[in-house]
């Protein structure tokens, strides 16, 4: 394709994408259990922005939109963006087209860390026996009680990254299969440890952890959205700044080295950054698989060679917002965990890549 045409297509896509991104929250907010139309949402936004206090009937609509649906949409967007970003960076820095936080065992490591912290919490060790992990959200977002779960998840995720790295032996070329197998092994290891923890905890805790681990944005609130947003935005900024180096890693360790990149340091830092993103997202909305695999591949198919990190993040975010809409609406009066839907779509996509990979 000629460069001019390619450039034109890219700009057109960016325009459409930003239009879609602007309309999506409003459109997505009009789906759900309560019957709220697109028009109601716009009205509620208008009321909220102009601080009008005249509404009696739409007061409840405004509350649903602003306290239930918008935080949920923001969390879904941040989660999708973060996972797509993590997947894209993982694929590039490991030269592995099948890399994904879920397949690499990072998600299961994070889950294990989170569940470990959670079971400590619910066993009363920290004198915090109330309800589920998500109900901690009544406190300020930076309070240590709110940060315990993400920190636990990050510890677990980092552990799994180090485990995958030591098992697969990075530095040698063509270790795609090795790394994938190490990821699967790590995934199983942490999965079994999580199951063991759940086996010994109370049935109530088991049920809530199980539901959480399937991935859901149902418990989103404004306080809980802050930490994931800060982490994902910060990571995006770091990734954009280091994009040149990250892209150089794609050419292989030795070539990147000859281009002045400190390969070992950059790769380790980027893997830790990915595990940070994953950990925070796992802690706030559970295990959501395959988004990190699918979205970067789709963007790459559309725009080969560009590695547009911001576009990847936005596409991932929008994808997740709409998957969440599907999760809310598909069963009528009952919600489906998003993790189930992404895994269903993702597994088909995974087979598709394996089939058509060069």
């Amino acid at each position: 394709m000629s460069p001019v045409k390619d450039q034109y297509r890219y700009r057109l896509f960016l325009c459409l994408l930003s239009l879609f991104a602007a309309l999506s929250p409003i459109a997505a907010a009009s789906f759900g259990a309560a019957n709220i139309s697109f028009h109601d949402v716009i009205q509620a936004i208008g009321q909220h922005l102009s601080w009008q206090d005249n509404a009696q009937s739409s007061g409840i609509t405004e509350r649903i939109v602003f306290e239930l649906r918008f935080p949920r949409i923001v969390l879904a967007f941040v989660a999708g963006a973060g996972l797509a970003l993590a997947g894209s960076v993982l694929q590039t820095v490991t030269c592995n087209p099948l890399a994904d936080p879920y397949l690499f065992g990072i998600s299961s490591g994070a889950s294990f860390g989170a569940v470990l912290v959670f079971s400590f919490l619910s066993s009363g060790l920290f004198n915090l026996t109330q309800g589920t992990a998500m109900s901690l959200g009544q406190l300020e977002w930076w309070s240590w009680q709110n940060l315990l779960l993400p920190i636990g998840a990050f510890a677990g995720a980092s552990l799994s990254v180090l485990l995958v790295l030591s098992l697969s032996g990075l530095g040698r070329s063509s270790q795609i299969e090795r790394m994938l197998l190490s990821g699967v092994a790590t995934s199983f290891l942490f999965g079994s440890l999580t199951s063991l923890l759940l086996y010994f905890s109370s049935p109530q805790a088991t049920a809530s952890v199980l539901f959480w681990s399937l991935g859901s944005f149902a418990k989103a609130n404004w306080t809980g959205v802050i930490l994931p947003s800060v982490i994902v935005l910060g990571s995006l900024a770091i990734i954009v700044v280091f994009k040149r180096q990250i892209v150089a890693l794609q050419a292989g360790d030795e070539t990147a080295h000859t281009l002045g990149v400190n390969v070992a340091k950059l790769r380790l830092n980027m893997l830790l950054l990915c595990s940070l993103i994953t950990a925070v997202l796992v802690a706030s909305c559970g295990g959501i698989g395959f988004v990190g695999l699918m979205i970067p591949h789709c963007v790459r198919l559309l725009f080969p060679g560009r590695q547009p990190m911001i576009v990847t993040a936005i596409v991932g975010g929008l994808f997740m917002v709409w998957i969440d809409v599907v999760a809310r609406c598909i069963l009528g009066n009952q919600e489906l965990p998003v993790g189930i839907i992404t895994a269903a779509i993702g597994s088909v996509f995974f087979l598709f890549i394996l089939r058509y990979r060069r």
Binding site: Q91, C95, R244, Q245, A251, G252, E254, H257, T258, G305
Partner: protein
């Protein structure tokens, strides 16, 4: 008086020196891959590294571009110890063209060539018009203008090699290191690639398998065998029948090339020791016999 003249001579020599390798060795688990190698190279000259498979050519080059650190010895680039350079600063001095790129490589030619800018760019620097000019010029120089927006994976072997050289040109190095740049290429591209590299007017180090190509293209040669330096100097000093016979274990005659009078190696066939159970680096008595037979044959 005389000491000042000496000093002038010494500085003028070191001024003209691009690279000096002083007694480097590289051991892996007590096995010496490289042992006590020393040579030097003047600016704007082309050095060919030759030797059999497993002689340590790639390892030597890797030491030169700091991918591995020698166990012993020192390498000086423009009179500065290479271990003292910062990563980026070193990459602005030395560019490397390797043999392979990973399978998963989502880039077109132009983007690949743009990678050469990496060491010259800070964290917040974007692409300028001057950068684009540089990239386009480099692509034109290697004759890939019509393939600039083709995916790298769709290029042929020779085109890939030329794209990698264009990347090195954009990197604007003072020393270019090529690891077997002519591998897998047909003879037209072999000559084309090396002439292209020579025309850049910078110091070049290349490992080359084809002795005749090395002889024709390089100003000086370094002959390695089993991790040791066997011989160094001009092609006529290094490429002698005795040395080729000893190192490569083949029968050959060396004549001046009709065009440029540098050594031209002709091989004789049917004199190999076919016993593969023996290490190829240990000449068997039979091979010795054969090579003397080969000598008499040639004389006859």
């Amino acid at each position: 008086m005389s000491s000042s003249i000496d000093a002038v001579i010494v500085t003028s020599q070191s001024d003209n020196l691009a690279l000096s390798v002083n007694g480097i060795s590289w051991h892996v688990d007590d096995v010496a891959i490289l042992a006590d190698i020393s040579f030097s190279l003047n600016k704007k000259q082309m050095l060919g590294v030759i030797g059999p498979n497993g002689a340590g050519k790639s390892s030597l080059l890797r030491c030169l571009y700091r991918y591995i650190t020698p166990t012993q010895g020192q390498i000086r680039l423009f009179d500065q110890d290479i271990s003292q350079f910062k990563g980026k600063a070193f990459a602005t001095q030395v560019a490397v063209v390797q043999q392979d790129t990973p399978q998963f490589f989502d880039m077109n030619t132009s983007q690949l060539v743009a990678m050469g800018l990496t060491p010259h760019k800070g964290m917040f620097d974007g692409h300028t018009a001057a950068d684009n000019q540089l990239i386009n010029d480099a692509i034109q120089k290697v004759g890939l203008t019509d393939k600039a927006f083709l995916q790298y994976s769709q290029l042929s072997g020779g085109e890939k090699q030329r794209a990698l050289i264009a990347r090195a040109i954009v990197q604007r190095p003072k020393l270019l290191i090529l690891d077997e740049p002519t591998n897998h290429l047909d003879i037209r591209y072999q000559i084309q690639i090396l002439e292209l590299v020579k025309s850049l007017g910078i110091t070049v180090i290349a490992s080359i398998h084809d002795l005749n190509l090395a002889s024709a293209m390089c100003d000086t040669l370094v002959l390695l065998n089993k991790g040791r330096l066997v011989s160094q100097g001009t092609p006529s000093a290094v490429l002698t029948e005795a040395q080729i016979g000893k190192v490569f274990e083949v029968c050959c005659e060396v004549k001046p090339h009709p065009q440029h009078a540098k050594p031209l190696v002709n091989y004789f066939y049917g004199y190999m020791s076919h016993s593969l159970s023996q290490s190829p680096f240990q000449p068997s008595p039979k091979a010795e016999q054969d090579s003397s037979l080969c000598d008499s044959e040639v004389q006859r």
